[in-house]
Amino acid sequence: MSRARAGFGYTVSLGIVAALTTWITLFSWRGFLDQPGRFLAPALFVGLLIAMTGAVGRWLRLPRLVVPLPQLLVGLLYLNYHVAGEASWWMIPNASSLQLCVERIGRSFDTATTYAAPVPTTVPSIVPLLLLGAVLFTVLVDTIACTLGRVPLAGLPLLAIYSLPISVLQEGVPGAVFAMSAAGFLTLVFMHESDRISHWGRPLGQREHANAASGMLGYQRRSGATQRTAVVVGASATALAIVVPLLIPTLNLSVFSGRGPGSGSGDSVKIINPMTDLVRDLKRGEDRLVLTVSTEDPNFDRLRMASLTTFDGTAWRTGERDIKDDQRADGTLPDLIGVDPQVPREEYDYELRATDDLDSTWLPLPLQVSDVDARGDWYYDPDTMDFMSDDQDENTAGMEWSATGVSLQHDKERLRNAPPPGSRLAAEFTNLPDDIPESVEELTKDITRDHETPFEKARALQDFLRSDAFEYDLEAAQPGNDIDTLESFLIDERVGYCEQFASAMAVMARIAGVPSRVAVGFQQPNPTGDRTWEFTSHKMHAWTEIYITGHGWVVFEPTPADRTGNAPGYTRADLPNDDPIEEPSNSGSAAPSNPTAGPNQRPDIPEAETGATAAKDDGFPWLTVLAGIFGLLILLLALGLLPRVLRRAARERRWRSMPPAEAAWEELRATAIDLGLPWPDGRSPRATGASMTGSFAEIAKHQPVRPKKGPSTNPAATAAMYRLVTGVELGRYARTAPGVTEAEAHEDVAVCTEAFRAGVDNRARLRADWLPRSLWSGKPAVSEPALRRQTRDYDDVIDHVG
């Protein structure tokens, strides 16, 4: 259309604005990584590069479908240069650089599926992946907006960019980014419309003289007034968009979320890794009260939230949990896992209460429980005895629950002599990825060489980690628990915090063939009074649990004493006559252990679930969306059918409550109104009938667009009309009305209705069926106001005859 005439200036500026808009919208991806600048700066550059390429391509009048190809090529060349620049000859790729580029993109994809956002800088960067996305989106936006000239449609890819973090991070995009992208998009629409207008006609008005200057730019700049209107409209719409959503309630209907009560078994909740965010919460969070516990248990020391049972080389994960409906946390639980009934045990009651700051879908509970009563949809996993809610919105904030904890009195000798566990358990809990570094394996072998039983091996590992060789430092430690981090932690640096200690011990135990897992929870409560304890968010902790035959999962504490106090008594070799279970150490010694801990936003461990990893398994709630759409469709269908139903009800009410002739007359009137025919009110029935016969038409199979109308076209209907009129007249004026039977009246109305319908167009017929006017307006459609409207003089154009 305007392509041939669009000047270079317009082409270039539209392309640049499109690229900038895309770039600004890409700001909403900032939350994906720790240093967004590393992605945004090259994204800007490549965006402008693509915009210029597209402008040149359009200026050269390349076919529209060809223009995106050089753009894509330029974008990918730059991507190659940026990602694998050292291997390529400047911008020109070669085989090795391409290979490297593909490899790095693949690795960043792995990172993205592994780590929760924001991805730390220490792991393989996800910048290549994001940059690839930026290139594709920029080309898409440029193609739609500039090359194809469908600017409003370009809003869709922009919306996709914008909504990606919403679905992945579950957190909104800052208002400033939204406002800026909105401004960019509106600028695009404005420029496109201005271009269209400038091709529409000769400009007149105030700024006519300014066109000489703007003509160089290739398109006519718009006058100040129009720009002002555009700014006012755009700004007020954007302001509304920022303010109004605060007032819109979001329902988040749990009906759609799949796992309601009785929704059947077999649904599995996939949970990724609560560990990943542990360090973030510890480092950043402000120390806030999250949990109060009251219990009689004298040895109360820690609460577990989740256990991480699988290690895939990049992180410890909770693995897949199979939850069934009968596994509700509302009473007695199965027997303790793997605990010999001969082990002496004592039961204590626990009352737990979480503050509003604890936003967790995992329920903190004592290590061994025999009974849990939590209100809401809480389920347990029988293999790990972890308690979790089934969706995001059921969390612990402000919740109260009770449990019966079981305190086991482990006998040290029996622990030491316990045989290795059965092969099934061993296979599951000693499973490790293939790429465990040899140095770690050798180290493990060195430590455990002299020990026979699983318990002794575990104790040796714990002693090794608690030795002076290791230093606890939350700040200096590298975050993460992937293989590389663990290797450097164990071999070189030996500085870390609970995450590294616990996962390192668990990995080493597995190397040594001992079933192990990592537990995440709270440790070292502050006593606040008589048998009440408090946990703050900084008490979050990770430790190792080792499976000992006959004793179940036994806690080991590899983290050094300056953070955790003493190790559990049964694991200490030097105090053979100590209590079977260590007294809880005084929290005073632990509190200063992480004095530099930063603010803690939410100790929401399962937030990791929503991390970048979510994209792999559970990225977008398709089921929810589909259910929502389906529900919406049903709602719309019901709404659409409502007028029909009401109309039918009105018809039946008429026939029921009025004499047949009057009912027929009323029904005929309503039908005429529905069809938009002019039913003259305030005339006698005969005059009305005579006038209405003018709207009759012959019923033909192939309806002409404008059928011939009049009484003569459909004599049967005309006769029926006069029968009805006579019936009404007799009913109204005759002393003794002979009466019309209802069947006759029905028949006549049907004939007249068909004749009416034959005389109007399809649209009016559809409207009469689906949106009958007679429901809300008793007045006929072509009433006086409508006529007046047709002839009304607009007083804003004045004619002077010249």
């Binding site: 006609g201 007149l204 718009r222 007020s236 719409a237 979001t250 529900g631 004045i798 010249g802």
Partner: protein, 427 residues
Amino acid sequence: MREGLAGLTVRGRAFLAAGVTAIACAIVLGQPSLSRVGVLIAALPLVTAFVVGRSRYRLALIRHVTPTLVSAGQQASVRLDLSNEGRTPTGMMLLEDHVPYVLGTRPRFVLEGVKHGWHRHITYQLRSDVRGRFDIGPMTVRVGDPFGLVELGRAFHTTTQLTVTPRTVPLPVIPLSGAWTGSGDNRPRAFAIGSAEDVTVREYRQGDDLRRVHWRSSARVGELMVRREEQPWQSRATLFLDNRSHSHRGQGVASSLEAAVSVAASIAVHLSQRGFTVRFVTANGEDPNTVWHDRSSSLNTGPLLEALAVVDSVQRPTIDSGWLREGNQSGLFVAVLGRMEQIDHPVLRSMLHHASSALALTLDVDAWAARGAGTGTDAAAWLSAQGWSAVSLGPQDRLAAAWQELGRSSTPRGHAATGHVIAGGLR
């Protein structure tokens, strides 16, 4: 606001629908960030509709067309005087003057941000190759917005007429008889005797001798009147055009009727220049604007050409002959004829009877229908036999040559027609 909403464009409606959908999804799915997008998209058309619906403007338009009578192929210029009488500055307006498509593209103007008292002249040119009377206007105004979301339609009502007359060709001077016919209601009287009412006066025209001013009439009428002393005798001519549809072939500009109209126009102009007062008669009878009247021949061409500009084919089997019954002489009679039927012969004889001298140009209409030479020569032969001077004209023939031929064959009435002239023809 309501008006603005009614004027939402497809884009505006789509934005509104998309926005509402997004808001609904955001509410159902619990995503407040999505509702932000929805509100933005839905608010845009609503705010625009509000702003556009609120704008008040009063545009005034005066249109001049000069000249209002142009010959086909000549240019006329239209001048528009636009002014804004509204109080607030206008938004964006798209003006389009509705000009018939045969006159060229419709002139379109974009008007934005005009203040109160704004005034502007715009001129554009019109040119038509087709005769006719055309309505220039009305101008439509579409009030738009910067994002193309709302469009309100308005229209001025007035139109101005432009008459495009048929093309004419200059004709050679040939001897024409039948001049100086003095019949009719304008027979001069001797004014020296009798009362002032008997004096025939006319309006003063530049160049009249002051001594001829008739002061008494001037005082009564209020403007200068002069006594008529010039020769009252007029050279009168009757121009007949057969515009019955079955007499002609072809469609539109290429039809034989158009050729006939063009021939008639050329003859009308030529006769007027020769000093004849021409009246124009079609198959429907006399044209009331071009009856013989007391005016000079040069003033006569305008109405004649105007009448010819709007001549259209008529559906009637016979030629109206009512104007022949007045008993007066028609003076010189020139007929432009198409296909002749047996039924027309009495009327033609009657015409010849009334004329002092009768010329006829018969169009070989079948040639226009691309069927080769047809009855045109036969008709000319019949007319010549009756006493007309007649030539036949084909689509390729030059009118000037045919007219010359007609002059050569023109003989006083009563002389025998010469068949060889016809045969010598124009081919």
